[in-house]
C-alpha cells in the first residue's frame, strides 16, 4: 500500500533487495568453490578405515593441508618458507568476490541518485514476504530505504569494495582464498541486511549475522588456538550484547505491539517520556550496542579480534560492523530522545571508553593493537555524539572514521605484508612482523603508504582540514552545547545533574583527543621514521605493496582528506565558501531531525564566538598532542623486540590493558565454570539427583528387599511359627470384629 504510493517505488529503488542478494550470491559461489576444492569424500563405511590401516592418500592430504594452513598464518608472523601455490580457483574467486561488491556499489549509487531526485522524506519499505506471522505479532522480511540506511549502504558497499580489492592482493597466496572471500561476501550481505532492515528483527538477523562472520573471519586461521579463541570470545561477548537487544525487542513488543521502525516512530510518543519503560528499552538496546561496538564493559573482544586477516580488521572491526551500534542508536533515535537517562548513559559510556582505550593505545607495540584501541576510542566518540542527541554528528563521525580508519588498517596491512614478505624471503621465522619495534624508517621503502597514513593520522588527530577534524569537533561541540541547555542537561544520572555529566563527557572527549594525537603520532614515528630495525638481512626485501593494494589506499586517502566536505559546519562556511553547509545533517533530517530537536529542546544555541573558541581549543589540543609526541619520543632509541627489556610500573599496566581480561576471567568466566562443574553438575546432577534421589530410592528398595529376604530363612520351624502367629492374630482380629 505504502510502497505503491511511494515515489521510489517506480525507480531503481524497488530492486533494493538485490543489494544484499548480490553479495549473498557471491558468498554462495565462493563457498561452493571452496567446498569443491576441499572435497575428498570419505569411504562408504567409515569404521572400515580403522581396520585397513592408512592408505597413502590419507597421509598425503592432511600433510598438504597442514602446510598450506601454516602458510596462511603468515599474517600473524609465523610464516613458513614453502612453495607458494595459489588456490586453483583463485582467478574465478578474484573476479566473483570483488565483482559482486562493484555491482552492489553500483546499485547503491543508482539508488542514491534515485533517492536524491525523489526527495521523499518518508521511508520506502520493500516487503518481501511475511516471516513470522503469529497472532498479533507480524514480522515481515522487509527492507527499509531511507536517508540513514542509504548512507550506511554507501559506506558499506563503497569501503567494502575497496577492501575486497585490497584483499585480492593481500590474501593472494592463502590456501583458504575462496573461503576468505565467501566469508567476506557473507559479511557484506548481513551488514546490508542490518542497515536495511525495516524492523528490529530483520536488523537483528543482520546484527547476529555480522557477528557470525566476524567470528569466522577472526578465526580464519583456525589452526592457531589463539585465533580460534579470539573468534569465540568475539562471538560470546557480542552475544551478551544480543541478550540486551533481544530483551529490548520483547519490551517494545509488549508495550507497543510492533517491531517495525515506521510503526514505532509513529507510536513511540505513547510511551511516557523519561519513563521507566522507554529508559529500560534504550538501556537494553545500548547493551546490545556496547557489545557490537566494543564499549565498556564489553570492549575486550575487539583488540583480540585483530587475530583475523588485516583487511578484515579494516572492514569489520573498524569501518562497518563495529559501528552498527552507533547506527542502531541513531535508528532508535525516536526512543533514545525520549529517555534522557539512557542517553546520558550512552554519552558517558562513550566518553569513558574513548579516554580509557586511548590510554591503552599509548603503550601498545603491535601496530594492529594500537589501531584496535584507537577504534574503540573513536567508537566512544560516536556514542558521545548519538548519546548527546547529535545523531547526525555521530553518523558523520562514523563515516569519516570509516574512511581514515580503513586507510590506517589497510596501510598497516600494507606494512605487515611488506614486513612479512621480507622476513619470509630471509627465512626469518622468529621475529614478529606486526611489532613496531621491528619496523622503523619504513618511509624510504614505502613512501606512498607513508604519505597516505600520515593523512589518516592527521585526520584522526583532528587537524584541519582533514575529515576527522570536522566530525570530532562537531561531536564535542554538541556535547558542550547540550550541557548548556537541553532535556539531557535537565535530567540526572544516578543523582548527578545532567549538565555536569555532559561537561565531564566534553572534558573526557578533549583529553582523549590529546591522547589520540599522541599515540597515533607515536605509531607513525616508530613505524616510518628513525632508523630501520627490521634486520640487515631482511631490509633489502622491504618494498611497496602491489598496486591492487595501494590503489584502494589512494582512494581512501582522498576520502580521508576531503570527507569533511560532507558536513561542513556553519562556522567554517562563514569563513570560506568551501561548499554547502551541513549537507549530511540535512540529508538525515527526515530520520533523526525530530529526535534531535526533542533532545535539544528549548536550549539556546551556543554563540558563534564560543563555537570558534571551542574549535580553536580543539585544534590546539590536536597540535599539542602531535608536538608532545614528536618532542618526547625518540625512535632512534628503540631496540628491536627481541632485545627489548620488559616494562615496569604504569607502563606495564597499560601494556597489559589495565588487566581487564584477567579481571573478567577471574571474576566471571572461571567462577561460572567452577559453579557449573562443581555445584551444578557433580553436586546437583550427579550428587543430589542421581546419587541420592535416583540411586537412593533404588537402594531403599533393595534394603526393603533384603529385609524381606531375611524372613525367608528356609527353616520350616520358623515358617511354622510365623504361620501360627499369623493365624492367632487373624483369629484375634476376627474375634474382635464379631
Amino acid at each position: 500500500m505504502l510502497q505503491n504510493a511511494h515515489p521510489l517505488a517506480e525507480t531503481v529503488a524497488r530492486f533494493v533487495w538485490w543489494l544484499p542478494t548480490v553479495p549473498l550470491l557471491g558468498f554462495l559461489i565462493n563457498g561452493a568453490l571452496s567446498m569443491f576444492a576441499a572435497a575428498k569424500l570419505g569411504p562408504a563405511d567409515p569404521s572400515a578405515a580403522d581396520h585397513h590401516g592408512h592408505s597413502g592418500e590419507a597421509h598425503d592430504q592432511p600433510h598438504a593441508a597442514e602446510h598450506g594452513a601454516e602458510h596462511g598464518a603468515a599474517d600473524a608472523g609465523h610464516g613458513d618458507h614453502g612453495h607458494v601455490v595459489r588456490h586453483k580457483y583463485a582467478p574465478i574467486v578474484s573476479i566473483v568476490g570483488p565483482g559482486v561488491m562493484v555491482l552492489a556499489f553500483g546499485l547503491a549509487l543508482a539508488t542514491f541518485m534515485a533517492m536524491r531526485s525523489a526527495e521523499s522524506p518518508a521511508p520506502y519499505i520493500n516487503t518481501l514476504f511475511s516471516w513470522l506471522p503469529v497472532g498479533d505479532l507480524k514480522v515481515d522480511a522487509a527492507l527499509q530505504l531511507d536517508a540513514l540506511s542509504m548512507v550506511m549502504v554507501l559506506v558499506i558497499t563503497g569501503i567494502g569494495m575497496l577492501i575486497h580489492l585490497f584483499s585480492v592482493g593481500y590474501m593472494q597466496d592463502d590456501p583458504g582464498y575462496p573461503r576468505y572471500f565467501a566469508y567476506l561476501n557473507l559479511f557484506v550481505f548481513f551488514m546490508l541486511l542490518l542497515v536495511l532492515g525495516a524492523n528490529y528483527v530483520v536488523t537483528f538477523v543482520g546484527w547476529e549475522g555480522v557477528g557470525l562472520c566476524s567470528y569466522l573471519l577472526i578465526g580464519f586461521w583456525f589452526s592457531d588456538k589463539a585465533n580460534a579463541d579470539a573468534g569465540k570470545k568475539a562471538f560470546v561477548v557480542n552475544r551478551i550484547g544480543d541478550f540486551g537487544f533481544m530483551v529490548a525487542m520483547f519490551l517494545l513488543f509488549s508495550h507497543l505491539g510492533t517491531l517495525d521502525y515506521a510503526a514505532i516512530a509513529e507510536s513511540a510518543d505513547k510511551l511516557p517520556a523519561g519513563g521507566i519503560v522507554v529508559t529500560a528499552i534504550c538501556l537494553f538496546l545500548f547493551l546490545g550496542c556496547a557489545g557490537k561496538s566494543a564499549q565498556i564493559p564489553l570492549f575486550v573482544w575487539l583488540p583480540d579480534a585483530m587475530a583475523g586477516p588485516t583487511p578484515v580488521s579494516a572492514l569489520i572491526h573498524a569501518a562497518t560492523m563495529v559501528t552498527a551500534g552507533v547506527f542502531l542508536v541513531a535508528r532508535s533515535s525516536m526512543l533514545f530522545s525520549l529517555a534522557p537517562v539512557a542517553s546520558l548513559t550512552v554519552a558517558l559510556t562513550g566518553a569513558v571508553t574513548a579516554l580509557f582505550a586511548a590510554t591503552i593505545g599509548l603503550k601498545q607495540w603491535d601496530i594492529k593493537k594500537v589501531l584496535a584501541y584507537s577504534t574503540v576510542s573513536q567508537l566512544g566518540y560516536m556514542f558521545v555524539g548519538v548519546g548527546v542527541g547529535a545523531y547526525s554528528a555521530g553518523v558523520f563521525h562514523l563515516i569519516t572514521h570509516a574512511f581514515f580508519k580503513a586507510l590506517l588498517f589497510l596501510g598497516s596491512g600494507s606494512v605487515i605484508f611488506s614486513m612479512h614478505r621480507a622476513y619470509h624471503a630471509t627465512h626469518n621465522h622468529g621475529d614478529d612482523a606486526q611489532d613496531m619495534r621491528n619496523m622503523g624508517g619504513l618511509k624510504q621503502y614505502m613512501p606512498i603508504t607513508w604519505g597516505l597514513m600520515w593523512i589518516a593520522t592527521l585526520a584522526i588527530a583532528g587537524v584541519p582540514p582533514f575529515s576527522g577534524f570536522f566530525s570530532k569537533d562537531e561531536i564535542l561541540g554538541a556535547a558542550f552545547a547540550r550541557a548548556h541547555g537541553s532535556t539531557l542537561a535537565d535530567a540526572s544520572l544516578l543523582g548527578i545533574p545532567g549538565n555536569i555529566v555532559l561537561y565531564t563527557v566534553w572534558i573526557f572527549g578533549l583529553a582523549a583527543a590529546l591522547l589520540t594525537a599522541i599515540y597515533m603520532t607515536r605509531m607513525m614515528l616508530y613505524t616510518f621514521h628513525g632508523p630501520n630495525r627490521t634486520g640487515d638481512a631482511a631490509r633489502p626485501h622491504l618494498a611497496e605493496a602491489p598496486w591492487i593494494m595501494t590503489g584502494p589506499l589512494l582512494v581512501l586517502g582522498v576520502l580521508s582528506l576531503a570527507g569533511g566536505w560532507l558536513n561542513l559546519p556553519e562556522v567554517v562556511t562563514d569563513l570560506m565558501p568551501l561548499g554547502p553547509t551541513a549537507k549530511l545533517e540535512h540529508w538525515l533530517e527526515p530520520v533523526v531531525g525530530e529526535a534531535t530537536k526533542r533532545v535539544a529542546g528549548a536550549g539556546t544555541p551556543v554563540a558563534a564566538s564560543t563555537e570558534e573558541l571551542l574549535i580553536g581549543f580543539a585544534v590546539a589540543i590536536a597540535i599539542a598532542g602531535i608536538t608532545i609526541a614528536v618532542m618526547r619520543l625518540k625512535p632512534s632509541a628503540l631496540v628491536p623486540k627481541s632485545a627489548a627489556s620488559p616494562s615496569t610500573g604504569l607502563q606495564s599496566v597499560l601494556e597489559n590493558k589495565w588487566y581487564v581480561d584477567e579481571a573478567y576471567d577471574a571474576a566471571i568466566v572461571r567462577p561460572t565454570y567452577t559453579f557449573s562443574r562443581s555445584v551444578l553438575w557433580t553436586g546437583v546432577d550427579i550428587g543430589l539427583i542421581d546419587t541420592i534421589l535416583v540411586n537412593g530410592s533404588a537402594a531403599a528398595a533393595r534394603f526393603l528387599g533384603w529385609i524381606g529376604s531375611q524372613l525367608q530363612s528356609g527353616r520350616v520351624g520358623t515358617y511354622a511359627w510365623l504361620l501360627v502367629l499369623g493365624a492367632v492374630l487373624l483369629l484375634r482380629a476376627f474375634a474382635r470384629a464379631s
Binding site: 501360627v724 502367629l725 493365624a727 492367632v728 483369629l731 476376627f734 474375634a735 464379631s738
Partner: protein, 180 residues
C-alpha cells in the same frame, strides 16, 4: 432316640471317647519315640472314629478307621521303620524350654480364641435352620453323603482322583533311588 437310657449311655460314651482322644493326643505329642507317637496317634484316630459314629456319621467313622488308622498311619510306621529312626540322638528332638514355653503360650492363646469363637455371636448368626433329615430314614447312611458327592461336588470328586494320581506318581518319583 426314644430310649430314655440311651442319652445317658450315649453321653457317657461320648465323654469317654472324648477323654481318650484328648489324653491320647497329649501322650502322642509328648512321646520321644516316633513309633510310640504313631501308635498313640492311632489311639486318637480310633477314639475319633467312635465319636463320628456317635455323631451320626457312621460312614465317615468307618472311613476314619480304614483310611487313617489302616492306611495312613501304617505308612507312617512303615517309613519310621524303613528309616530306622531309633537312635538316641534323634529321639531328643524337643525344642528348648523357651520354645516349649512360647509354644504353650501360643497354644493357650489359640485355644482361648477358638473357644471364644465357638461361643461368639458370629457362630450363632451362622446358624441356619437345620435341614430336615426326613430322607435319612429312607436314604440310609450312605445316601445323604453320596448325593451331594456325586451331584454338586462331582467335579471336585473327580479332581481328587487326579490329585491322588499325582500324589502316587509324585511319591514314586521322589522316593525312587537316584541311579547316579
Amino acid at each position: 432316640m426314644q430310649n430314655e437310657f440311651l442319652p445317658l449311655f450315649y453321653t457317657f460314651h461320648f465323654y469317654l471317647f472324648g477323654l481318650i482322644a484328648l489324653v491320647g493326643a497329649i501322650v502322642f505329642v509328648t512321646r520321644k519315640s516316633p513309633v510310640a507317637a504313631a501308635l498313640w496317634l492311632v489311639v486318637v484316630m480310633f477314639a475319633l472314629a467312635a465319636l463320628y459314629v456317635m455323631l451320626d456319621a457312621q460312614f465317615v467313622g468307618m472311613m476314619q478307621i480304614l483310611v487313617y488308622a489302616g492306611a495312613i498311619m501304617v505308612v507312617f510306621l512303615f517309613v519310621v521303620m524303613l528309616l530306622n529312626l531309633g537312635h538316641p540322638s534323634d529321639l531328643n528332638d524337643m525344642r528348648g524350654k523357651l520354645g516349649r514355653l512360647l509354644a504353650g503360650l501360643v497354644g493357650l492363646a489359640l485355644v482361648a480364641e477358638l473357644m471364644a469363637l465357638t461361643r461368639s455371636e458370629v457362630t450363632m448368626k451362622l446358624v441356619v435352620p437345620p435341614v430336615e433329615n426326613a430322607a435319612a430314614g429312607t436314604a440310609g447312611i450312605i445316601g445323604p453323603i453320596a448325593g451331594p458327592l456325586f451331584k454338586e461336588y462331582l467335579l471336585a470328586f473327580e479332581l481328587t482322583s487326579v490329585l491322588l494320581l499325582v500324589a502316587i506318581i509324585g511319591a514314586v518319583v521322589l522316593a525312587k533311588k537316584r541311579s547316579n
